[in-house]
Each structure stands twice: as C-alpha cells, then as structure tokens.
Assembly symmetry: C3
Homo-oligomer: 441 residues x 3
Amino acid sequence: MRNNFDEETDNVEKSHKNLISTYPMFQDVHVMIFIGFGFLMTFLKKYGLSAVSLNFLVSALSIQWSILLHGFLHPHCEDPKVEWGECPGSKPYIDINLVTLLSADFATAAVLISFGVVLGTTNPAQLSIMAFIELILFNVNEYIGRTHIKAVDAGDTIFVHMFGAYFGLAASRVLYNKKAAESEKAGASQLSDLFSMIGTVFLWMFWPSFNAGAAASGDAQMRAVINTYLSLCACVLTSFATSAMFSHTRKFSMEHIQNATLAGGVAVGATADMILTPVGALIIGSFAGVLSTWGYSKLTPFLSERWKLLDTCGVNNLHGMPSLLGGVLSIIMAAIATRKQYDQFNGDGSDSLHEIFFGLGEDSTRDGAWQAGMQAAAMGVTLAIAIGGGIITGFIMKFVGAFTANKDNRENRVGSKFALSYSDLYDDNGYFHVEEEEESA
Amino acid sequence: MRNNFDEETDNVEKSHKNLISTYPMFQDVHVMIFIGFGFLMTFLKKYGLSAVSLNFLVSALSIQWSILLHGFLHPHCEDPKVEWGECPGSKPYIDINLVTLLSADFATAAVLISFGVVLGTTNPAQLSIMAFIELILFNVNEYIGRTHIKAVDAGDTIFVHMFGAYFGLAASRVLYNKKAAESEKAGASQLSDLFSMIGTVFLWMFWPSFNAGAAASGDAQMRAVINTYLSLCACVLTSFATSAMFSHTRKFSMEHIQNATLAGGVAVGATADMILTPVGALIIGSFAGVLSTWGYSKLTPFLSERWKLLDTCGVNNLHGMPSLLGGVLSIIMAAIATRKQYDQFNGDGSDSLHEIFFGLGEDSTRDGAWQAGMQAAAMGVTLAIAIGGGIITGFIMKFVGAFTANKDNRENRVGSKFALSYSDLYDDNGYFHVEEEEESA
Amino acid sequence: MRNNFDEETDNVEKSHKNLISTYPMFQDVHVMIFIGFGFLMTFLKKYGLSAVSLNFLVSALSIQWSILLHGFLHPHCEDPKVEWGECPGSKPYIDINLVTLLSADFATAAVLISFGVVLGTTNPAQLSIMAFIELILFNVNEYIGRTHIKAVDAGDTIFVHMFGAYFGLAASRVLYNKKAAESEKAGASQLSDLFSMIGTVFLWMFWPSFNAGAAASGDAQMRAVINTYLSLCACVLTSFATSAMFSHTRKFSMEHIQNATLAGGVAVGATADMILTPVGALIIGSFAGVLSTWGYSKLTPFLSERWKLLDTCGVNNLHGMPSLLGGVLSIIMAAIATRKQYDQFNGDGSDSLHEIFFGLGEDSTRDGAWQAGMQAAAMGVTLAIAIGGGIITGFIMKFVGAFTANKDNRENRVGSKFALSYSDLYDDNGYFHVEEEEESA
C-alpha cells in the first residue's frame, strides 16, 4: 500500500533537516491560526465561545480540504524525477510534508479572514459551505497567480489577505441584514477585549514566521523576518498615536489596538523578502498603521451606513486596504529591482534576484518592468475572483442559511431572506450550550 | 565535584546539535504541560485559580521527582562506554540533558491526567502525595514495558495516557463522596469556558510535538508529526458533529469541544510513527472524536450514578477510552508490519522497521505477531499497575486528607472519611486567598 | 543604497544557520516580553486593558529605540574585517540580525520591569519618556559593564533585572503620591488573577530561553537551559510553601504564585552558564522563592508605609532582591572557577572557561579573584547608574505628567505635582475607551 508521504518524509536525513528548519516556523503559524485568529475574534461580549470554537471547526475543516485541493492541483509521481503534473506510466498521488501543512495553514488564513467579516451573523453550516467554496477558488487563484502569472508574494499579502478580505466583504454585502447592523450585541466588554488581546499579541509576535515561512531559505528568509518585525514595531506606534488623535477625549480605542497594530504585517508581506532596507520597512509599517486606524474610525461606519456593508471585525481595515498597499509596493519594488542590488552582499555567488523573482530567471528578456506588470496582473485576477466568487458564495450562503436556521427560533428569524433569528445574532446561545451566569451566583 | 550533566551536555558540538533538534519540541511539550493542562482545567466556574496554580505546583514537583526516579532506574557511569546499568569501579550518577527534561514532562503528564479526575475534590497535600506515589509506579511500569516487554509507544498512549487515566479513576472511586457528586459548583460559566479553550487549543496545536518528541529522529519523527496532525484535524470535525447530534436542540457543548477534539491525539499516539498512511490517521482521529463525545454525553453520567465514579474532567473519555483504542491499534499495526513496507522509501538503506520495533532487531526469530503480543502484554501490565496502584493510593489520600483538611472548615467537613469541607469543593476559597468581586464594584 | 543588514543576513548559508539556531529561542523571548510581561501585569482588576496595551506600546517603542542606541554604540563597517568601532575610510552603519532583535528584547525587558513599579500610576506620555531615557542609560551601563569592566552575565541578572528594578524604584520614590497608596483599585479580582497567570506561566516556561539566548553556543548554552529550568522548578515549591506559611489561614496568595515562582530565573541568571551543578541550581531557586515571597508578604507593605515607596507589581521582590542574590552568586562562582573544572568534560579541546569568563582569556595574569572583583564592580556601577538615573527620570516624569494629564480630569488631578487624576489611578478609563459592563446586560 502506498504510504502517501513524499520521498522526503520517508528519508531519514531529509526528514531530520526539514523538521529542524521548518517545524518551529510552522508551529508559530499554527499558533497564529488557532490562537491568533481564534482569540482575536473573541472581542464580542456575548460571542466569545462561538468565535474561538467556530474558528477551531472551520480551520480543522479547511486544513483537510486544502490538503486535498492542493494535492489535486499539484499531483506527485512515483518517478521522483517528475516533480509536478502528469505522471507517465504511474498513478499520481498527493504528497504530504511539512510544507503541505504550512500551505494548508496559509489557505486556512484566507478563510478565517472572510470569517471575520461575517462573524456573528452566520451559522456553522453557512461557514462550512463558505470554507468549502472559498478554498477551491483560493487554490485556483493562487495557482494562476504563482504558476502562470509568476507573481511573487512571500507573505501572501495578495493571495491570502487580499483574496480573503474581498471574498468575505463581497459575501457580506449579499448577506446584508438591517437587524444585524442595529444589534446592540455587536460590541465589546472589558473582559472580551482582554481575551481578544491574547489573539492580537500572538498574531503580532509570530507574523515574521508567517511572512518568512514560505520564503526562500537563507538571506531571503532572514530579510522576511527582519522586515516584518520592523514594520510591525513601527505600526504599533502609529496605530496608538492615530487612535488617540481620532478620539475627542484623546483616549485609545481597543478596536484599533487589537487590529490596526497588525496592519504592518499585511502591508509588508508581499515585499518582505526583498531589499526594502530597514528604513523602508519602518515607513511601510508606519503608514499601514495610520491607514488601518483611519479605516476603523471613519471608513467602516460609512460603509455600513451607505453601502450596506457589514464587516464585524473590520477586515477591510486590517486585511483589505493594507493588502492593496502591499500589492502596490510589490509592483514598485519589482520595477526597481536590479541584479546588482540583490547580489552585492552575497559572498557565496548565489543568485538572489532570480531566487526571489523566479520568473526573471526563466527568460533573460524579462526585466523589473515585466515583473511589475505581473504583480499588477495577479492583483487584478485576485480581486476579480475574490469579489465575483464572494458574491456567488454569498447567495449560496443565504440559501443554505434558510434551511439550516436554528429550529427553535426559525419562527422568529429576521425576514425570510436570513438564516439567523434576531436573538442568535452575535450570541453564543444560538449554537452553543451556554452556562448561565445566574446559575454561578 | 561532579558536574552531573552528561558528556553530551558538556560537549560543545553535541550540545549545540541537541539544542537545535530537540529544544523547540521540548518547549512545545512544556507549553502543553503548564498552559495546556493548566488552562484546560480552568473550566470550573469557581475553581480557575486553583486549577492553574495546583497544576503549576504539582508539575514542578513531579518534574523534579521524576528526574530523580528516572536517574535511579537508569544510572550513568563515569566510563562513557558503559551506557546504562551498573558501573564497575566507579560511582554511578544521574545525567541530565534535554531528553531528561522531556521525559520528566511526559511523566508529569500522567500525573496531571490523574489530577483531572479528582480536580476540585482534593487538597494540595493529597495531590502531592498522589504525585509522589504515582511517579514511582509510572517509572516502574514504563521500565518494565519498554525495557523488558519491549513494547513500542512513541506518543505514550499506553504509558502516559492509559496509566494516568486508570490510576486516577481508581483513586477517585476510593475517594468517592456523595456531596461532591451533588455539588452545584461543579459546572462551568461562559468565562471559565473561554479560559479553558486556551488550554484546549494549545494542547491541540502542540500535540504533534508530544507524539513526535521521543520518536526516532528522521522519517519516524516526521510521520509522528503528520499522522498526529491529521488525526487531530479529523477528530475536531467528528467531535463537533457528534456533539450537535447528541443534543436535543442541535447545539454544540463546550465540554465536548474542549476535550473530545483532543482524543485523536491520544488514540494515534502509540502508532504515530508507524506507517498508518494519511487515510489511516484520519480514520483513527474521526473514530476517537465520536467515542470521546459519546463518553462525555452518555458514559460519564452513568458511571457517576451507578458506579460512584466521579471524573471531574471526564478523563475516561479524553484519555482512558481513546488510549484503549490506541493500544489496540498498536497491536494491529505491529501484527501487520513488514520490513518491505517500512523500508520501501528509505533510499538511504537505513532499517526503519527495526528502528521503530526495536525488539524485532534483537532477535531474528521474532516477528510482527510477537510484537503484537508484547503490545498486549504492556497494556495488561499497565492497567494492572495503574488500577492496583490507584486503589492503594486512593486510600492513602483519604488518610492524608483527614489530617490536612482546611483548619477553618474542619468542623463542617463532609463526613469523617473526607478531607474537604463541603464549601471547599470545587471552590478557590478552600486553599487560595480570593479577592471578592464585591470589592471590585 | 545600503542594505543595512549585516553580511551574515545577506549570506545564504549563514542566514539559514542563524535562523535554525537562534530563531526559536528568540521567539520564546519575544513571547516573554509581549505575552509574559503583558499579561502578568493584568492582575489589577480595573487596569487589564491598560496593562497589556501599554506593555505593547512601550515594548514596540523600546525595541526600535534600542536597535538605534545599540547601533550607535557598536557601529559596523563596510570592511568586514573591522568588527566593531571606528571605520577607517568607510561610513559606519547599524547592522541588524537576529542577535540585534534578541538584544532589543532584552533591553525592553529592563524598561518593562521599571514599568511594573509604576503600573497604574503613570500615563502613556510619562512611560514613553521613561523608556526613552532608561534605554540610553541601560545601553551605556551595559557597554561599560561588559566591554570595559568585562563582567559576565549570561541571563542579564545584573544588566537587565537589577538595572530595571532599581531604576524603576528610584523613579517611583520621586513620583510618590499618597492617594495612589490609598487607592482601593490597586487590587486584583478572581478573573484578573487568572489572566495574570497566563503571563506568569509563559514567563516561567520560556525563562530558560531568556537565560540561554545570549550564552555561548554549545555546552554553556545547554547548562544555561538546564540550570535555569531546575532553579525555576525548585522556586515554585518554596514559593508555594512559604506563601502558605506566611498566611494565618494557611492559604496560598495569588500574588506570590504569580511572581515569586519566577524569582529562581532571576537569581540564577548571571551564573546560569557556569558549572553550578544541578544541586546548586536547585538550592539557588529554592532560596530565591523564599526571599521573594518574604518580600511580598513583609517588605513591600513596610516600604510603602515607611519609605513612601510604591511598587505596584512588587518588582523589588521579583527582580530587585533576587538580582542582588544572583549578582553575589556570580561573584562567588567567578572566585572559585578553575580551568580544570570547566574543561574536564570537554572532550573536544575547547576552552570553556575562557569562553564564559572572556576577560580571563585576554590576560594570563588575571584569575578568578580578578573576575570576582569585576562582577562586584559591575554591580556597583549598575546600581549607581540605575538609582541616580531613576531619580532624575522621576523628576522629568513628574514634569511631563503635569503637562500631559488627561484633559477631562485635569481639574481633579491629585495635587499639582501629579499627572493622574485620582479617578484615573489603576483604571482603564483614564486613557482607554472602555465598554461599560452595564451596556452588555
């Protein structure tokens, strides 16, 4: 019987090396997915158990589905010489190694970003169907973007953050419900804000592992770690400063601290392994913090009122706009990249430029301008698939919701178009047994 | 004066290599012990401080005692050529290296599993004496099982989970008290459930490190990581599904989400480094989730009422039954193991079968059937020592409890046979200074 | 344009090795700074959001400022042969690699220790100015101590813990305000105590990485891990025991469990990489636990009443006194160190003594007594700069505070000498928007 792990996994030396070099970063990313996203979303005062539990369920589902999808798109062969694609004379198989697990975590992040948009206004069945569809489109989009367009995106700013954010926002627009927009439960409490900070801080600390996890081993990976670290540090300062500035009483808002402080990680992602210089990384992070805090303060209320766009976690501010910023930065950095700059400190003769911009290495007529165009193309395709897919998925979720509404409350559900009864919105009681506080007195 | 660290620790190169290859996994396991177990047990609404603090105390005690016990059973010699056992012409000593610390954490896990059974119904003195006795029997049982019976158990399903669970359950049966069974404090609140999820998620994420930490370096360790990861993912899905199915209102129960989702890690432990294939791992995890959820829903109430068996954390469902399942799986996997299967992908000529089933390498007349028998024997011995030792320890704990009851409440303690007064059951106030909420208003 | 990462970062092989050997320990230390310190300080019942958020802000600020300061003191040259100091014929630059980030985290720890002293009685502007000044003095003191005095301090007991503690205590004495000493809000609640335990446990688990992170690679680093681990385990036991002993009702105090259990990591820091022997490490940790618990029980109330010294987190007990103990231990261990002892197990001919006590290797007339003198000198200089600098900084903070008081409450602020209004003391409402609990009902 076929083992289904790849040759590397079954080789003593290679397995040992992979475990040493990749496992710690993989576990950092794993913590970001389950603790980071899970607890970041516990900020709603009555929805903490749902947030962390549904994050757990959706992630476990997404990881498995993503391993299958990735395997279907990138089948392996018995013959070790044929790395990808069709297998002449032998059955293709799905290989599973540490990079597979890491990739599954990245794909899951996109789903969780979309989940953040519709947090508290969707039921578990709707979330499962969303994860199912979104991952298909996510994998197709990433395949097009990386393999065909040859765009580079070490920290998945375009393929994860931009895709997840606009997919979720598009679906949320379709699912819009007035009652949800007016719910008094869609707020935080002092304790739920503190739980949420657990998520924030773990995301913030391990973000360098996220952006560097899939980078080319060596100097590129090291730059990804350091650029992300610097961008995030700068982002904290401008987020706090902007938060106080936007407040009449000059007080900090926890919503900004929990979220905008992370925008620097998103914005720097696509260019993290490039030669940004430390000053460049600091500037990117600083600007991302201002942009994101502005979004939470001014843009989200506007979008909710005028555009009927509910965004529970403010995903547009943390992932959406910073990813657009990051994507544009990747266009600029690609346009100005030169071999001289990338290889000046490489004493060992390695070709750092072509390792990062792998498309340039394949054809000597290609240059930075070509790569810049490819970055723009990948952004366009990503936005098109995300928004188009999100709208369609929103309608499917509406349909699914109508059939899977909580039985007890189906009578009182909010209009015929919506799955959740009014009392279930942003409330653990909808789908979880909650121990009443009165009983504990 | 003797340094007491082993030769490896005092050697520059070896120390460096050991730190790189073992330290990250050791720290993952360390987090499981202190954050994972500690916060998982904070689910009781009035016992959170006690749970995490007593977990801290009992673990720090167990680690030190375990290092000594392990050293007594496995003394080192000045002469580096004599690895284990008696030292001709020189004094034996206890060596301490990263593997020592990792082993101490594993042994501590067994104690914490037993602690989970009697959580809230025992005082610190009783827990300390329990840890003291349990670790002696744990080390003896593991020594018999691994060195003499030559059973294999990479993830310690048999030696840690099965031993800890049935030791604790046996002691709890002896300590049974009707008042504890009827206490209204033995429940959760929304906030305590959220704290508990911190423990759940850290245990779930780092379980691959637990099952792989002691596996043979290389492909066996990689398989242990991947099989455990897959089993846990599948287990989450079936736990959620079964939880909703067992509920009249189709709602999820936090108790199931906090615990049953982890059963896949227990069930796959003994066979994690074997060639289960990914599909095999997924099936094991799926079944473990159903079994564990069923236990929480149906079996625990039954055992409490009919068999007078209190099990505060439902250890029988999370560790007990899944470890029986895992033990049986190790019998089956050993029976069908062949050299051909294990070495097919080992391009480097290493002997993977004999690395995992080390007993087979010692004697060429032994085969899979022999190993299967040894697995069964180790399970039998483990159950016998755990249950017998647990019963005796329960009586000693009863005796100790009578002398160490909280002075202030000794008058009102529950019957002469029991240490804790009724008001101390499942209540931080028994042994911790608690700031009253009224003061905070 | 200059890349500003050092040659190692731009070299494929070296970067890869550095990431493997240093990154996991760096991330452990990172978790200690942001989760460890951040959540440890959430114990105040109404100040949790401020504690974790201001910890986040001050740390992000300190890291960036520290990278600059460290770079100014230790500039790099284009010419890779000139490692430190002036650059003949080329512009010096600041290099940034993993060790830079790790060092920045260590420096930040000193600031956070001082923050713990004045937690709840200072505003964000005062904290920022404190961090700004303290880091200058911190870097100067460490430069004098390590480069000129040639003191050794692997775990930064002297340079981080002693410096941070006495700097903060000196500033706090200057900032003393009677109203703060009498505030009823300066206490904990059951839930805030539980949040605080998240910080305690992460600090406790990862302290071996803190003490070993900067130790010489190989056997010295391994000893730092194991000695710290053992000291911390022993410290837990004596902290619990002493806590119960100092209580009339024989109950444990959460303040002791949260803090005194960590004193073993401070006390063993300066000598962690030396040959303490395991028994030595256990004794150090045991004594540190008793000393720290005694401080919390008896000394802190005395200092507050008689010496007008407020110390919100009891930093003198966790960092101050244990660092004095650790410093004295480093004098003793240096005095008795011999080449024979350090090299007895080094089968590879490396010079372990001179690797640890690097000053001895530079001049063969120097011996253990000389090193002992240098340890004492570094302690003296550290205390002088910390206390002197802390007093001056306290006055500056007073001045800054008067101008940055919360506008809304300036009328009611506590005397003209103090920035915070009475209602803002130990209260999130002072500088953070807090969602009222009433709204959530």
